[in-house]
């Protein structure tokens, strides 16, 4: 293994260093290995160079150099993608946006903020504290993930049930196109004539260019809220209650399920006080105007009890800063971090089913677990029908890896069969490219490819992501170590 970049990229490295300075470029093999994967660890690919631009102008120059040298490039934020969204397929230049981290403007009166792509989600939340408005998307990785990354994946989080996902809160972006031009898409003002390019860009996983700035819309804080912790003897009871709540016409701000395996892991790690004997717990949150919330909380309690559950905790709050409130959500959002205590390796899946199909899919997953002899833990956005089964396995055991992948595929196939999707918020990335033909017809994919090729004609920008586009498919197996499938 050499300590320097491949010979073909040496002139490019020299030019990038001249542009960004020595501290804006990584090219030694030992430095690059950190960037060989993101939160999706099954595939790996090492970039030839990683660059750290600090301005849109620098991103433009980097993109132009990549075009001149005919090398692929891929943007990366915090690298929290769970689908390989930042994997540098075919090598090339990884453009890290983490040094573009300024909050450019906050305008609470007009309910928007302008941030650079590398601003971490929770930084904006903190900057907005006390203004009366907030940025609604709150993925579990919000203390690490960047808003540029949220835009790339159309990220969600627990509170999307009532408030919507990232696209519902983005008014515009500054985009560096794959050709290296800067285009302002949308703007601070809500309605702009022309196609809803913001709607197309958000969730496009970097395949239309590099987003350098984001104009986000801000929501008025709720006047008050109630957060309930409901405890159930079995998972089935809990998801029946979820279906009951939604069917009763209640739209909670959040509705999250945690099963016994995860409750134990979270308790061992954080000692929050979750009942470790429970089959499942639901975190049920309603918010809005205080005067309406007691009725809603009461109605929810009745549905919980009708499904064999009990209300273990009920927190009434005025702001999301109250300690008891923060503790319960910290426990929920840190759940993924606690799973390491249970299994050496895990893979977090991301499927979606119609909410009323939750009881069915949970029973189905139990069957999968038994058939494949692979443990599956669950902590997910139940109110959205967005599953996050956590497949537990040992990556050193090839047979377990094989069975884990089989379990994943069976669950996602069932989501499709139920009219759902293979990803609700993590993205297609590289992980789920092969599943796209199961969700979409050749005509659907041809139309998506036509749009892709119109905006990214040379396929140098984020190759082999989001939709199965020809050209780079051959290269994608060579740089990474693919798990046996």
């Amino acid at each position: 293994m050499t300590a320097t970049a491949a010979p073909t990229t040496i002139p490019l490295v020299r030019e990038l260093a001249a542009l960004l300075g020595e501290d804006g470029v990584l090219h030694r093999r030992d430095e690059l290995v950190v960037y060989e994967c993101d939160g999706y660890v099954i595939e790996k690919a090492v970039p030839d160079v990683v660059v750290f631009p600090t301005s849109t102008e620098q991103v433009v120059e980097v993109v132009k150099l990549c075009n001149q040298h005919d090398v692929p490039f891929v943007p990366r934020g915090a690298g929290t993608s769970l689908a390989g969204g930042t994997l540098p397929i075919g090598g090339g230049v990884m453009i890290s946006l983490t040094r573009m981290k300024r909050i450019v403007e906050i305008n609470a009166r007009d309910r928007y903020a302008i941030v650079e792509a590398g601003v971490v989600n929770v930084w904006l939340t903190r900057a907005l504290a006390g203004t009366g408005v907030h940025f609604a998307p709150d993925p579990s990785s919000q203390t690490a993930c960047t808003i540029g990354g949220n835009v790339a994946t159309n990220a969600g989080g627990p509170h999307t049930l009532k408030y919507g996902v990232t696209i519902n809160h983005v008014r515009g972006v500054e985009l560096v196109t794959p050709e290296g031009e800067v285009v302002q898409i949308g703007g601070v003002v809500e309605d702009q004539p022309g196609f809803d390019l913001t709607g197309l860009l958000v969730g496009s996983e970097g395949t239309f260019g590099i987003v350098t700035k984001v104009i986000v819309g801000l929501c008025r804080d709720p006047e008050a809220g109630r957060t309930l912790l409901a405890v159930f003897p079995t998972v089935e009871d809990s998801v029946e209650a979820v279906s009951g709540i939604v069917a009763a016409g209640i739209v909670p701000a959040a509705l999250e399920m945690i099963d016994n395996l995860m409750i134990r892991a979270v308790e061992a790690a954080f000692h929050f006080g979750f009942p470790v004997e429970a089959g499942a717990v639901l975190i049920i949150e309603v918010d809005g105007v205080d005067a309406a919330l007691d009725h809603e909380a009461q109605a929810i309690s009745e549905i919980v009890q009708a499904h064999g559950g009990t209300i273990d905790k009920a927190i009434g709050w005025r702001t999301r800063e109250e300690p008891e409130y923060k503790a319960i959500w910290k426990a929920r959002k840190m759940a993924f971090g606690a799973i390491g205590r249970v299994s050496p390796t895990f893979c977090t899946q991301d499927g979606v089913v119609p909410r009323t199909a939750l009881p069915h899919i949970l029973r189905f997953m139990e069957g999968v677990s038994e058939r494949t002899n692979i443990r599956i833990a669950n902590v997910f956005h139940a109110g959205d029908g967005n599953l996050h089964p956590i497949i537990l396995f040992d990556e050193q055991d090839p047979d377990q890896v094989k069975r884990a992948l089989q379990a994943s595929h069976e669950i996602l196939d069932e989501c499709i069969r139920l009219g759902g999707s293979v990803t609700g918020e993590h993205g297609i990335g590289v992980e789920k490219l092969a599943m796209m033909p199961k969700l979409f017809t050749p005509d659907d994919l041809a139309a998506m490819t036509a749009v892709h090729d119109a905006l990214n004609p040379d396929n140098r920008c984020s190759p082999a992501k989001k939709i199965p586009v020809g050209g780079h498919c051959i290269e994608r197996t060579s740089p990474g170590r693919r798990a046996p499938a």
């Binding site: 309605d191 197309l200 105007v289 029908g385 009219g419 017809t441 041809a446 749009v451």
Partner: protein, 421 residues
Amino acid sequence: MNVDDRSAWPDAPGAGPLGDGRYAAAVHRPTTVAELCEVVKAEAAAGGAVYPQGGRTGLDFGLPPARPGAAVDLTALADVVDYPHADMTITVRAGMTVAALQAILDEHNQRLLFEVPRADRATVGGALATGVCGPRRLGLGRPRDSIIGVSFVTAAGVEVKGGGRVVKNVAGYDFPKLLTGSLGSLGIITQATLKVRPRPAASALIWLTADRPEPLDARVAAFNTSSVRPTAIEILDPSASQALGGPVGLKGGSWTLIVGVEDDADSVAWQVDRFRREAGVDFDVLRDEASAPLWSALAAFQADDAPLACTASLRPSRIAAFLAGLRPGRWASQAHAGNGVVRMRGLGEWTEGEAAEAVDAARAAAVRDGGNLVVARCPTAWKPRLRVWGEPRGDWALGRKIKAALDPNGLMNPGRFAGEG
């Protein structure tokens, strides 16, 4: 299927209106998507153009049709595909009227989240293609926020879908949003899946007047610290106030702030009371069923037949100054004040020159604020001078690339949308 010559515009009445004084060479009314695909292929082969139509409530919207072609009437594709009401989603064909859709939702006490004028005629496909919405957009969002799945027939005569039927889904490109508001220029919407919500138990509209717009602006700003959580915040100029207040028994004719709240009965009562205490003034209130006619009138304001109408977009904090800068007596204006949208209706007679001068001035003010001004209605002959889609935007170049990719021969509603004129 063979079609006739498409090289010249037919004389009136042709096979029916296309809008802007143009007439269709033929009208097709497919009863299946397969039939629609054949129609599109046949028109493409004949070198014509395809003009999708629903309830024909917005035929004159946009620039004039550019090439002779056929109208495609979608109203025979009007069935419910799937309504899993407990999931709070519905999938319908595009030709269903919005009123028919709402009637189906009524059975489960649910509602559509965006408001569509002339709902008895306007179709779901047309509403999505134009991206129409009303005052509740503040609390409930725009059509783009409701749509989670779309199917459309492309210029190649094939049906393509994007999104799906579940509320969270990031597989594939977001065609539902790309198609919403694209005015049929990328394809013919055949089917959509929409999020729906329970109908709130109670509703109130607060009607508060002032001599000048500025104090109302201060009240709008106060919602950033208020305990009230409105679904709608509207400002009417004296002319609009007169037009909307009279029919519902309210004293119009002044600058008017309207605050809409919807929730359960206790919450609505509390919010009205709270607003009274915060504002420190008295006002009229329409509650529950009594509020329905005014809600409808606020949504329908944009659908008046005034020969000149514009929609300006700007930052909410600039609304009052913008309204104060319009020539009194020449416009009746409604602002979705929480969203920065102003709907202007021309009053009295206008010449093209007067209209161009007024539109240019108002547009310049909106553009200075990062917004724009679209001419929703004007005589066809004025359209080039009034630049109906507003000041050209830098991102239209990307839009043209997408248009060229999905409709390389300009078959779909040619000439009409932003960036094509």
